[in-house]
């Protein structure tokens, strides 16, 4: 779905941004964070961590909206999200993609 015009209150809206941190050596490679990230920000590495597991890498820097799901679902306390500076939405993108956040 796309919008036919830019919403009038677009100036009042800010999209939260998250800054993802990964404590690589704690990861045991369960892939929960990669699978359940709603913005598909993460991908498993091809490298190994010192325990011999693949760990997640951030592949879409800036796409994270700080929902903290990765932090909650991670069984190892090895990923967390800190609040970044919220950004106003890009009017062109809103017109193009509407309410669909999946990219």
């Amino acid at each position: 779905m796309s919008y036919w015009r830019v919403p009038l209150d677009i100036q009042d809206i800010k999209i939260p941004k998250g800054d993802i941190h990964i404590i690589i050596e704690r990861c045991k490679g369960c892939k929960f964070c990669v699978e359940y990230c709603p913005r598909n920000v993460l991908e498993m590495s091809t490298d190994y961590n010192p325990k011999g597991y693949h760990y997640p890498n951030v592949i879409k820097q800036g796409a994270c909206v700080n929902c903290n799901l990765c932090e909650l679902i991670c069984p190892e306390f090895s990923i967390y999200c800190l609040e970044g500076e919220a950004q106003p939405p890009d009017p062109d993108e809103v017109l193009r993609k509407g309410g669909n956040h999946e990219s």
Partner: protein, 304 residues
């Protein structure tokens, strides 16, 4: 910790030690004991995260919260939580917690333990703690098996499921834990899976704030034993299975929430009712009978 880890791949950027301490839950875990013992893609770590998150959300003072575990994989939760935490004997987490909660009425005591610990060897304590409406929050991590001892059948193992002591599949009727908890008198009963992480967090927060016996069953992946023996894949596959089969039904009749092998899992908040706790009922009753001669137990910080 980080400084002792050898970067033998020569490809890693190993975080500085101080980086670790910025994990928002770092203050609640004993990370000096990490890595924890749980297997890759085991759900217990996720449930631990939910517990911490639920505790934060509840607004309770962590200094006044104690956690008791029994024995088994889930029994190790206490050892990783930076709260007053006690790792008791197999099945006896509930009576230990009862002593702790009665001994100091200012404490909010949680029990985090496994299905075998709570409902098999500790089954008698479970039904009686619920009957008394003891002021305890029970988080029962159900992985359908005795994992630490190598995947034996337990009181929740579904019919058909393979285990090391049911090599041809289990033929015993399993417990329906929410039904058991409700019929014994629990005032708060919910079931979630390790996938329902936000709802679980909310449930834990509600349960912690609920006076009396609250019970949350959390279905959790056991990739190494239950899933492997039954060829159900990794923990992630279990999570996907929960995604596809779990049905949220708040207020469902607990007698109808049995779990059958690889069938739908009904989750939700089933019971939330008000009833005086053991201590409230005791104090009120004894005050009525003894009048001014009754001296309530106030705990160690108030003298006698």
């Amino acid at each position: 910790m980080s400084e002792t880890i050898t970067d033998y791949t020569n490809k890693l950027t190993i975080p500085k030690p101080e980086e670790n301490f910025r994990h928002p839950m770092e203050a609640y875990i004993r990370s000096e004991r990490f890595p924890h013992i749980w297997c890759s893609s085991c759900g217990i770590g996720t449930i631990l995260t939910a517990y911490i998150s639920g505790l934060q959300k509840s607004g309770l003072d962590p200094e006044k919260v104690a956690v008791v575990s029994g024995i088994g994989c889930s029994g190790r939760v206490a050892g990783y939580l930076r709260l007053d935490s006690f790792h008791s004997t197999h099945g006896r987490a509930l009576p230990f917690a009862t002593g702790l909660a009665l001994g100091n009425p200012e404490l909010k005591v949680s029990v985090i333990s496994g299905d075998g610990d709570i409902s098999a060897i500790g089954g008698n304590h479970f039904i009686h703690s619920a009957r008394r409406n003891m002021n305890l929050t029970i988080i029962c991590i159900n992985n359908f098996t005795y994992a630490m001892t190598g995947g034996q059948a337990g009181p929740t193992t579904p019919i058909e499921a393979n285990s090391s002591t049911t090599p041809y599949g289990s033929y015993e009727y399993p417990f329906n834990l929410p039904f058991l908890a409700e019929s014994c008198g629990a005032v708060y009963v919910a079931r979630w899976t390790a996938l329902h992480i936000r709802r679980l967090t909310n449930a834990i927060s509600e349960a912690l704030l609920k006076p009396g016996f609250s019970f949350i069953e959390v279905i959790s992946p056991c990739p190494t034993l239950y899933s492997r023996r039954n060829r159900l894949g990794t923990g992630l596959d279990s999570m996907k299975f929960y995604h596809d089969t779990a049905i949220i039904q708040h207020g469902a009749e607990t007698r109808e929430v049995d779990i059958e092998y690889q069938q739908k899992i009904i989750v939700g908040k089933f019971v939330d009712k008000e009833k005086p706790t053991f201590t409230e009922a005791r104090d009120k009753f004894l005050k009525k009978k003894l009048g001014d001669r009754f001296v309530p137990y106030r705990g160690p910080n108030h003298g006698h």
